[in-house]
Point group: C2
């Protein structure tokens, strides 16, 4: 499959220019590893690519002409990208309008792309970012500006379609599984415990929350798991918590921030704020449910909210995830110089017994704005746990450790000029 | 100093019996490393100690005659104690009455101690546990039952007196420092960020919250740090957050769960529940402050509550902490067989340039029920940050990594029979 992408290169007239890369949407602990893959592959493909330029804060940086030039960076800072969480170059949530309705942004981009001779454009993000990427590709196609545009997937949410999983998910899943184990082991210290409710990210897809179940392999998993895929009933929840607590004198619940009731209304006490894409900012589910348990059941309960830690926990990255994040970056460069465009890199899992990933490409517009949910067969019949099928799916993604570069007991992160 | 303790042994008539060990109070990620130290040293001291018996759920296990016998355990499970968070043998919060008022519990203990020929009793815990330990020592002294009783310190809170620091603190501090860095780096992804408020454990002492400042060494620390040592003013807090947000468009706050106002009233929305020692269960400060920031300042804000993760994060233990936890366990055994009693092991830091710890003993009753707070000279004049003196104090405690034993991407924890 790597062969397939390379094959294309040799047959076509070469286009020489600069490569522009940016990050968008919520960070992951390995998105910078994809940047590393892009940079390293681009440097290798010097027949096609003169220079790697990076937008500060994604597409906003292109509009504002705020760039980071990789040639100005030290090799040490570039290497540290493999251990740096967050968005080393800044991220953004900026929704581009349809260019047929308002082409202001697009004309500005065209000016910038021509000024810097950008012929390859790679955008690293999730669903919304692929929407941005597709719109730019459509516009450049429309006005006939030759630029090859490839989406580089990332999202801890694991909700992009057409790809077995997304870079960023494995590391977040590893953090969640290991932390749930720790919380569970800690809980078991007491005879008379509490109901501990852990809130995990995931607006509409429960992949991250489901990962808490990996902890069960060690005997220290959650008692109940609630995903957004199954309508949530507070009465059913109270009954289930109560039953477990009566038996075990404690109960560990993993709940997705995005659970909603039969009518589709979020259980979380929404802050009422929406982001640029119109999504409600969620949070507070664990807190709300813990209050309900304390007040209605009279059982002591405590919420745990990892917050951004779950997407930023570079100290417990999955090596598999880091390596795949690097590879999607490399693949995107190879696709672009092969004159592929308006596509996103996807990962296919071979059906072989041993875990193996091959890389492919899918149309950006199909990848954008679609959310892949946890399949029904991965959720138990009671809707409060997961099945073996999910464990088999997720386990290979958290394998191996990418040990942090500690100095003075704290990690070292990349600092770009 | 090790010499000093060993010296004592040879001169006295030997007392041969069994050693009883238990864990009490809130777990830490290295309390089981102390159990490991106790077990290994006791096995070495077979001239004095026949068998190591462990109480399930601390003193409750002794009262209920629920024991774990180390001779029944595999070497593998014992070795895993060095990587296992929580209380591997169960913990308890059980306050013993004064034996002069009610000696029921004490008579039961005497019966059990005689039945199992317990001549050495080690109790691993914080302030409250040292209270329990001292009471038992006083009772046995009163009735003239020969049993040597030594307290083994542990608490992530670092609030025990007479000891430079406590085992458990270094690992919790390391987790906090590294996680704060990750949250900070993640926050900086966006131009227009939020006010992120991280709630950190610590009822009356701010040692753990102060550890968030270590992240500043990398350039990714909190903007504001509020400890329980300084009375908290909501108006001052709002002003300080507002000023930073105006300038940076984001603000990272580390706040102790135990902050209270000028009148000493906790800021947290206390659940109203008290534990067996009469302490209020705290929690919800970050949530309360985040709501205040959103409502009163109109700035988006999000709380992060690590919950028990901070005391259970075995995946990022400080090797220094683990080794010291093992050593306090060993020292306690040596002290007991040297016929020392009613004492707690303490750690002294040498005044030398290089970090070095020597071990000593202090009376249990002085250690019990006293809380060591962060000294004023470690807190900045504005009361919203810490000084270099604290960094110099804490940095040696988080050095070195005790890499987890991963299997299938998740940690392995000890499972005792």
């Amino acid at each position: 499959m790597i062969l397939y992408l390379n094959m294309g290169v040799s047959y076509m007239a070469k286009l020489k220019g600069n490569l522009l890369y940016g990050q968008s949407g919520g960070p992951t602990s390995v998105i910078n590893a994809s940047a590393y893959g892009v940079i390293k592959e681009a440097q290798k493909q010097s027949d096609f690519i003169d220079e790697v330029i990076i937008m500060k804060h994604g597409i906003q940086g292109a509009l504002n002409e705020e760039f980071i030039f990789i040639k100005d960076q030290s090799e040490e800072e570039i290497e540290l990208l493999k251990h740096t969480p967050g968005s080393a170059f800044g991220s953004v949530r900026h929704k581009l309008p349809d260019f047929k309705e308002d082409d202001t942004n697009y004309l500005r981009l065209l000016y910038i792309f021509k000024k810097y001779n950008i012929r390859y454009f790679l955008y690293n993000g999730g669903n919304d970012s692929m929407d941005t990427c597709a719109k730019i590709a459509d516009y450049f196609n429309h006005i006939n500006y030759e630029c090859y545009i490839i989406g580089v997937p990332k999202t801890i949410d694991n909700d992009l379609p057409f790809t077995d999983h997304t870079p960023g998910y494995g590391s977040a899943a590893k953090f969640i599984a290991n932390t749930i184990m720790e919380i569970s082991y800690d809980m078991h210290a007491y005879h008379n415990g509490k109901v501990t409710i852990v809130e995990i990210m995931g607006r509409h897809a429960g992949w991250l929350t489901a990962a808490s179940a990996i902890a069960s392999l060690s005997g220290f998993g959650p008692d109940l798991i609630y995903l957004p895929e199954i309508p949530f009933s507070i009465e059913k929840f109270k009954k289930e918590v109560s039953e477990i607590y009566q038996k075990k004198r404690q109960c560990l619940v993993a709940v997705s921030e995005g659970i909603s009731n039969e009518e589709g209304i979020f259980i979380s006490s929404s802050s009422g704020l929406k982001d640029a894409f119109g999504h409600f900012q969620l949070g507070g589910v664990a807190s709300k449910l813990a209050s309900t348990v304390s007040a209605d059941l009279g059982i002591p309960s405590r919420p745990v909210e990892f917050g951004s830690t779950q997407r930023a926990a570079s100290h417990i990255q999955s090596l598999t995830d880091v390596n795949e994040a690097i590879e999607v970056g490399r693949q995107a460069v190879r696709a672009a110089i092969s004159k592929k465009t308006n596509l996103m890199v996807v990962m296919n899992r071979s059906s072989k017994e041993q875990y193996e990933i091959t890389y492919d490409l899918r149309p950006l517009n199909l990848c954008a704005n679609t959310e892949k949910k946890v399949s029904k067969s991965m959720i138990n019949s009671k809707g409060n746990g997961i099945t073996k099928e999910f464990i088999n799916y997720v386990l290979p993604l958290i394998q191996g450790e990418n040990l942090p570069q500690y100095k003075n007991g704290i990690q070292q992160f990349s600092k770009m000029k």
